[in-house]
């Protein structure tokens, strides 16, 4: 029985074992690079969205329609309890957190500084919704939404020259444009990882601030929604909007709330795509070279095949099969070398604080990133890379295959 083209192509692949193995090595190495590079980016990206969301407004913020342009405390949403209930019923939404966020002046006996405050319900928040839940470096957390105490960023406490137990007066502008103020003792110090945030953050009890501002018991500036899948925030927002939000409530995604961060991420993702492209071109060049040389070497054989009745199209398909096998085996080989390294790195983040010279977090677009090299690839990007490699292989095989189909039988046979 004469073997089919696919079988013949497979056998042809192993005629020059050394060359094929070298090519497979280069495909495998390309795949390794592409996966590692993308995994680094993806993890970075996921971490940044995550931290950004946990720093402020969640993956989607329910806000007064003008709050994002000018975040004043006069721009509020009502019936926050109802909003939480409706939102948490949405299949995309994991959790909904009510918060009041804004600017304030903080004063101590020694100093007076502009700060950013977040008023939260500490009994509902955890590290998945509010990064600083895990950021306590000294003292203790406020106990409940009506706790009059407060927490300061570690650096802010230094700037305000205040210690645990010390008094801080915070001054706000209320809904009527009146200046109002509250006072609380410092219960704890927190560190965000981002130096600028550490120097300016105050955490207060939600109900305490409502009272100071004269808000209704279920009034706030923000209901922060957390997605079950952080990469489907747009779908989540659209679903919420489609379900119908109350009058005077807008839903903004994290990248609309934080355009700087989203621009930064877009740039990084673009960089990853570019690197992938470069790697694919290198992979394709190596495949092209292998196939092209092997087609030239087999010119006479192709002449014989044409003489016995193979059509030019069949020779074309034979070489396309060869390139397909090369790509497929290359992906498998790449997977075999990539998987162990990937899983090791995914579970053993590399501490790069030695390289950055500080164990402070790296601040990126206002978000503090832990000083660790961490990886984690999005599954669809992994699939994309595999498809890319096989696609690049097939593409690289097209010209050699075309050449095989164009062999002039008489000239080829005369090459004895």
């Amino acid at each position: 029985m004469g073997p089919r083209l696919a079988v013949l192509a497979w056998r042809n692949l192993w005629r020059n074992r050394r060359r094929t193995l070298l090519t497979l090595a280069s495909i495998g190495f390309g795949l390794l690079l592409a996966v590692m590079f993308t995994a680094l980016q993806d993890r970075n990206f996921a971490d940044m969205i995550d931290i950004a969301a946990r720093m402020g407004g969640g993956h989607v913020s329910l806000q007064h329609p003008e709050y994002n342009d000018t975040p004043t405390l006069t721009r509020t949403v009502q019936d926050t309890d109802a909003l939480v209930e409706v939102s948490e019923a949405d299949p995309y939404v994991d959790k909904a957190m009510v918060r009041i966020q804004g600017q304030a002046m903080a004063a101590t006996a020694g100093r007076n500084l502009g700060v950013f405050f977040m008023a939260v319900d500490p009994t509902r928040e955890d590290e998945h919704t509010f990064q600083l839940s895990k950021g306590l470096v000294e003292g203790s957390w406020i106990d409940g939404p009506d706790d009059p105490g407060l927490l300061l960023g570690r650096r802010l406490a230094e700037l305000l020259k205040v210690e645990l137990g010390g008094k801080v007066v915070y001054t706000l502008v209320d809904k009527q444009g009146e200046i109002v103020s509250g006072v609380g003792r410092v219960k704890g110090l927190v560190s965000t990882g981002a130096p600028s945030a550490d120097a300016g953050i105050v955490i207060l009890g939600l109900d305490t601030v409502r009272e100071v501002l004269g808000y209704a018991p279920d009034e706030a500036t923000t209901v922060a929604l957390f997605a079950k899948d952080p990469r489907r925030v747009r779908a989540m927002r659209d679903a919420l909007v489609a379900a119908g939000l109350p009058e005077g409530v807008a839903a903004l995604t994290w990248d609309e709330v934080q355009p700087d961060l989203s621009a930064f991420i877009a740039m990084k993702v673009g960089g990853a795509r570019f690197m992938e492209l470069v790697i694919m071109i290198l992979v394709a060049a190596s495949i092209f070279n292998t196939l092209f040389v092997s087609v030239l070497e087999r010119t006479r054989e192709f002449g014989i095949l044409l003489a016995i009745g193979y059509s030019p199209m069949q020779l074309f398909r034979l070489v396309v099969w060869e390139s397909g096998w090369l790509g497929l085996v290359g992906v498998v080989a790449g997977g075999v070398v990539t998987a162990p390294l990937y899983f090791w790195l995914a579970t053993h983040p590399i501490d790069v604080s030695a390289m950055t010279g500080t164990d402070e977090a790296l601040e990126v677009a206002g978000v503090g990133m832990p000083p660790e090299l961490r990886i984690g690839i999005f599954p669809e990007n992994l699939a994309l890379i595999a498809i890319f490699v096989v696609g690049a292989t097939l593409l690289a095989g097209l010209y050699p295959a075309w050449r095989a189909g164009r062999v002039e039988p008489v000239e080829a046979i005369n090459l004895a």
Binding site: M1, G2, P3, R4, L8, R11, N12, R15, R300, E301, I304, L305, L306, A307, I308, G309, Y310, S311, P312, M313, Q314, P409, V410, I413, N414, A416
Partner: protein, 233 residues
């Protein structure tokens, strides 16, 4: 006596090659008719146009002028696809050497034309097995070409060429690369295939021994038929 229509005919065929500025007139008005069941040798000095004639007969190349017909069909009227199908279905080819696909076993090589034709595997297997047996290489069916001697390789090539029962088997100096004992054995096999199955052969050669074993000898000189003799065989 009625003669069946020719399987192959050349009518006033010329072939001119251009090598740079030089014109090489390989065939200068070839007229030749081959009938079914014939065992014919084309002889002639090197450069007389034997290979060129066989390539034209096998639809591997086109004449400059004149007409080549296989089964009465003017090859000039066929598309590239039709020529490929004609080579597969109506023509068998045996070249001087390195005929076989290195990654296929002897059996697979011999069956490859049948496979191209889509003959069911079971039928391929029985037909090729008996053919290899007939050619005395039944026990070598699973060997790859590099595990076969030159003569054995030529037998596999002959098996491949005749397996699909083509109208004509074209052999371009099929015995030129083997020793004379092997050449004689190959010729005996060709002759017995011709006798037992009526396979039509057109072989080029400049080997005296070949001429003694065929039924008809056509001598080419300068791209034309110089003589055409029926010999005893």
């Amino acid at each position: 006596m009625t003669t069946s229509p020719p399987v192959l005919s050349f009518e006033g065929v010329t072939k001119v090659f251009h090598q740079g500025d030089v014109e090489v007139r390989a065939l200068r008005g070839l007229d030749l008719v081959v009938h079914p069941g014939e065992l014919t040798a084309i002889v002639g000095p090197s450069g007389s146009g034997k290979s060129t004639a066989l390539h034209l007969a096998g639809a591997l190349d086109v004449p400059t002028t004149g007409t080549v017909r296989v089964d009465g069909v003017d090859l000039a009227t066929l598309t590239a696809r039709e020529r490929a199908a004609l080579r597969r279905d109506r023509i068998g080819f045996v070249f001087q050497s390195y005929n076989l696909v290195p990654v296929m076993s002897a059996h697979e090589n011999a069956a490859s034309v049948l496979a191209l034709q889509g003959v069911p595997e079971a039928e391929q297997r029985t037909r090729v097995a008996s053919l290899l047996e007939e050619l005395g290489i039944g026990d070598l069916a699973d060997r790859r070409p590099d595990q076969l001697s030159g003569g054995q390789q030529q037998r596999v090539a002959i098996a491949r060429a005749v397996a699909a029962r083509p109208a004509v088997v074209l052999g371009d100096e099929p015995t030129a690369n083997v020793d004379s004992a092997t050449a004689e054995r190959l010729l005996d096999l060709i002759r017995s295939l011709n006798e037992r199955h009526g396979t039509t052969f057109l072989l080029s050669t400049h080997d005296e021994r070949v001429m003694k074993r065929v039924r008809r000898v056509v001598t080419l000189v300068d791209g034309k038929v110089a003589s055409d003799e029926t010999v005893g065989g």
